[in-house]
């Protein structure tokens, strides 16, 4: 700093540039900070980021066909799928070699299952063929076309071969098409028949219900947060414990409690029947549908709405309302024009939190949602644990992630992410 007369970089007392000297002085500090967060960073990387990246990659990964049937895939390249005829002998010969190797390694059923996602019925072709081909002499046992068709006439079906050809590349968009209720037809992507379309409905239902849950959380939570923020600290703390009380109970217990409350022989229905408001044979259906899901999830997610709203409202000084009233505003005008705009950041923070939690919620819709009230996450869980179609699950998950990011971006554009405050 003393060298302000010279035009070069500012030098430290010993002649080294000041910037370098500063960097050296701060290096230790930075290293220490890094060391302190290193365990968490490593933990997050290993248990969160890598698995998610792997999962996302699964939505396009398709190496199984080309790895298990390498020769067949090469031989099939020249075959014209639109010819309406099964491929020639060379393809079957290659298939025989591949199939024998696969059957010995017990891999043929996996390819079968994989292709079965795209064309139901293929897995039995592979299972049967694998069993037989294991005993064949694949070098000299030809011609193989007839023999394959004898095992299962499906092997002569051009559609089966089209499926194998379509899914031979190492990467595929098939899972994503599937997740969007589409399939690969003769002319590229096409809609699935209407009775097979389920994911669009599920995505839209998930969005609408998450929105409904967020709205009911705002409506129920806003007055509570307002009261909390305007009560004396002692009373507010007591009430805050009541707001947080649900967190001390297991999620499953709370959801099951709603089952007890809402079912047809449950507390609410019994009371209504006893009061004579509802006939015994016309009990309300409040569970295993969307209503049940919305009620139970609103209850479970409400604290996530109240907490950010409360902490934002706490920062709004009561003098603003007084000032507005002294300037001539009625109670309502003072609230609507002065208090409410200042509380919007809290609503925004709470809404983002609740909406994103709701959109990926699993347990509650599973337990109280029936068939009409389930979310896309339940379908993802089904593909992960029951149908074992991890690729499709990953594609659905990726779409959900992208939708959330788009909504987040839109929120930033409309409301501004700077306006989100947690206190």
């Amino acid at each position: 700093m003393s060298d302000s007369t010279s035009s070069g970089p500012v030098l430290a007392a010993d002649g080294t540039p000041l910037k370098r000297s500063l960097a050296r002085a701060l290096r230790m500090q930075k290293m220490r900070a890094l060391m302190l967060i290193a365990p968490l960073l490593l933990f997050v990387l290993l248990t969160f980021i890598l698995p998610i990246a792997d999962m996302l990659f699964r939505s396009v990964e398709n190496q199984i066909v080309s790895e298990t049937l390498p020769k067949t895939v090469v031989a099939l390249q020249d075959w014209d799928a639109d010819s309406g005829e099964a491929p020639g002998e060379d393809v079957y010969a290659a298939l025989a070699v591949d199939m024998k190797a696969a059957a010995e390694a017990k891999l043929h059923t996996r390819v079968g299952s994989r292709l079965n996602y795209e064309k139901p019925g293929i897995s039995s072709l592979f299972r049967k063929a694998g069993r037989k081909v294991k005993k064949w002499d694949v070098e000299n046992g030809g011609p193989f076309k007839e023999q394959f068709i004898k095992i299962h006439k499906g092997w002569g079906d051009p559609d089966v071969w089209r499926t194998i050809q379509t899914y031979s590349p190492r990467l595929t968009n098939g899972y994503f098409l599937n997740a969007a209720d589409m399939q690969k037809g003769a002319d590229g992507a096409e809609w699935r028949p209407e009775n097979e379309q389920i994911y669009w409905t599920l995505f839209i239902r998930t969005m609408i219900m998450s929105l409904a849950i967020t709205c009911s959380c705002i409506i129920l939570g806003y007055p509570v947060a307002w009261i909390l923020a305007n009560l004396p600290a002692r009373t507010a703390n007591l009430l805050m414990i009541l707001v947080l009380l649900p967190f001390w109970t297991s999620l499953l217990v709370r959801t099951s409690a709603w089952k007890v409350m809402l079912q047809q022989q449950g507390v609410i229905n019994e009371t209504l029947v006893w009061l004579g408001l509802v006939a015994d044979d016309a009990r309300l259906v409040m569970i295993n549908n969307q209503f049940g899901t919305i009620v139970a999830m609103t209850h479970i997610l409400l604290p996530f709405m109240i907490l950010p709203m409360y902490s934002v409202m706490q920062t709004i000084k009561p003098t603003y309302l007084r000032a507005a009233k002294s300037l001539g505003a009625t109670n309502w005008t003072a609230f609507w024009r002065v208090y409410f705009p200042q509380s919007v950041p809290g609503i925004g923070a709470g809404s983002i939190l609740v909406f994103i939690l709701a959109i990926g919620y699993y347990i509650t819709p599973e337990l109280v949602g029936g068939t009409k009230g389930v979310f896309i996450s339940n379908r993802i869980a089904f593909h992960i644990s029951s149908s074992l179609n991890w690729g499709l699950a990953a594609a659905l998950g990726t779409i959900l992630l992208v939708v959330v990011l788009i909504l987040y971006w839109a929120y930033d554009k409309i409301v501004g992410i700077d306006n989100v405050k947690l206190g």
Binding site: K317, T319, Y320, R322, A323, A324, K325, S326, L327, G328, A329, T330, N331, T333, A334, R337, V338, P341, Q342
Partner: protein, 367 residues
């Protein structure tokens, strides 16, 4: 004053009491009458009830007992937004999500004033506080002093006849505070508005007000113009609270022709003006003398004046004045202030001197 039929009374408090918990009175039997156009300051230590009075006048607190009248009509049951009273808050309370112009527009919009008239009034109000170029800014982009001006403009823009100010200059630094004190007084007089101003800063109260109400313990201890308040405090609280003050304790020997002869605790006799009702022959009293009214130059004292022996303990040079600490009648904290004039004597510590004063400057107050 508190008969309620005073014809020029604009703001009236009649026997007003306020309690928050039903056990203690924060405001005890408040009676106050203000004519139109007056600048009245409520001065007092924190917890003395002055802010509560202001809030009752504004309508944010309800009086537990008594009547508050504005322009002759009782406003006890009128909600704050219908009282039409402008108010400036301690921390400005400018709406952070609105621009300056929107802040000023707010009181006009809720009064359903047309757009063109609104803009004209906003412009006039902003020009009045010399902030005309700031209409498009947000409150957070302004300095404390600028925010203060805007708060003032907002309280005045809808042309209220009464404006309340709750320690509006508390957050400003000294220089800015003095500038704003002057500006607020100037505006108030130019616009002819009635102002009730709350502060705990006695300089502010003395320099700005037509009258000052000194609050303590939920009561008005004295309500008087600034000079009277300073020179003629009616009790020892006011004497202590306003300005610097020397006190000596003693017993009243006798009262003759409006002059009380007081025997101090070390036996010396002084003449005082009896002020407080409790000053009777034989009663304990506390005598109050302002430091600048004490004289040690014998030639300036009348021949028959009682004098006291004093020892100089400390001499402090303060530029415009000298501040000398003396031991007088066993009191080590007796201060005298002398002007730094060319012929002024600088007292040396250790010197033995005699001090005296005019009897009317020495006021015998309650013990």
């Amino acid at each position: 004053m508190a008969d309620g039929s005073n014809s020029d009374a604009f703001v009236e408090f009649e026997r007003v009491q306020k309690s928050y918990d039903g056990e203690n009175l924060v405001v005890k039997d408040l009676n106050l009458t203000m004519p139109k156009g007056e600048f009245l300051t409520m001065l007092g230590p924190s917890g003395s009830g002055k802010t509560t009075c202001l809030m009752m006048l504004a309508g944010f607190e309800t009086a537990t007992h008594g009547d508050i009248r504005l322009g002759g009509t009782s406003i006890n049951n009128i909600p704050p937004h219908k009282r039409g009273i402008g108010m400036v808050f301690q921390n400005y309370a400018l709406f952070p999500h609105m621009t300056i112009a929107e802040n000023l527009s707010f009181p006009l919009e809720v009064r359903k004033i047309g757009k063109s008239e609104r803009e004209e009034k906003i412009k006039r109000a902003l020009d009045m506080v010399e902030m005309g170029a700031f209409g498009g800014r947000r409150p957070a982009q302004l300095s404390g002093g600028q925010q203060q001006r805007i708060a003032l403009a907002r309280a005045l823009v809808f042309e209220p006849e009464l404006v309340l100010m709750d320690e509006p200059l508390g957050a400003l630094d000294k220089q800015l505070r003095e500038k704003m004190q002057f500006e607020i007084t100037r505006l108030a007089h130019n616009l002819g508005i009635t102002v009730v101003y709350v502060t705990h800063d006695q300089t502010e109260a003395l320099t700005m007000s037509d009258r000052v109400a000194v609050f303590d313990d939920g009561r008005i201890q004295q309500l008087a113009p600034p000079d009277q308040l300073y020179e003629e405090p009616v009790n020892s609280f006011v004497a202590q609270f306003i300005g610097e003050n020397n006190t000596l304790e003693g017993t009243v020997k006798e009262i003759n022709n409006g002059v009380a002869l007081v025997q101090l605790d070390d036996g010396e006799l002084i003449d005082c003006k009896p002020v407080h009702d409790s000053v009777q022959a034989g009663a304990r009293t506390r005598v109050s003398i302002r430091p600048e009214r004490v004289e040690f130059n014998k030639s300036r004292l009348s021949a028959d004046a009682h004098t006291l022996k004093a020892e100089v303990l400390e001499f402090i040079y303060m530029g415009d004045i000298f501040r000398t600490r003396l031991r007088v009648a066993g009191n080590d904290e007796f201060i005298i202030k002398t002007r730094n004039a060319p012929d002024q004597v600088r007292l040396e510590p250790g010197a033995q001197i005699e001090i005296g004063w005019l009897p009317e400057d020495c006021r015998a107050l309650d013990a």
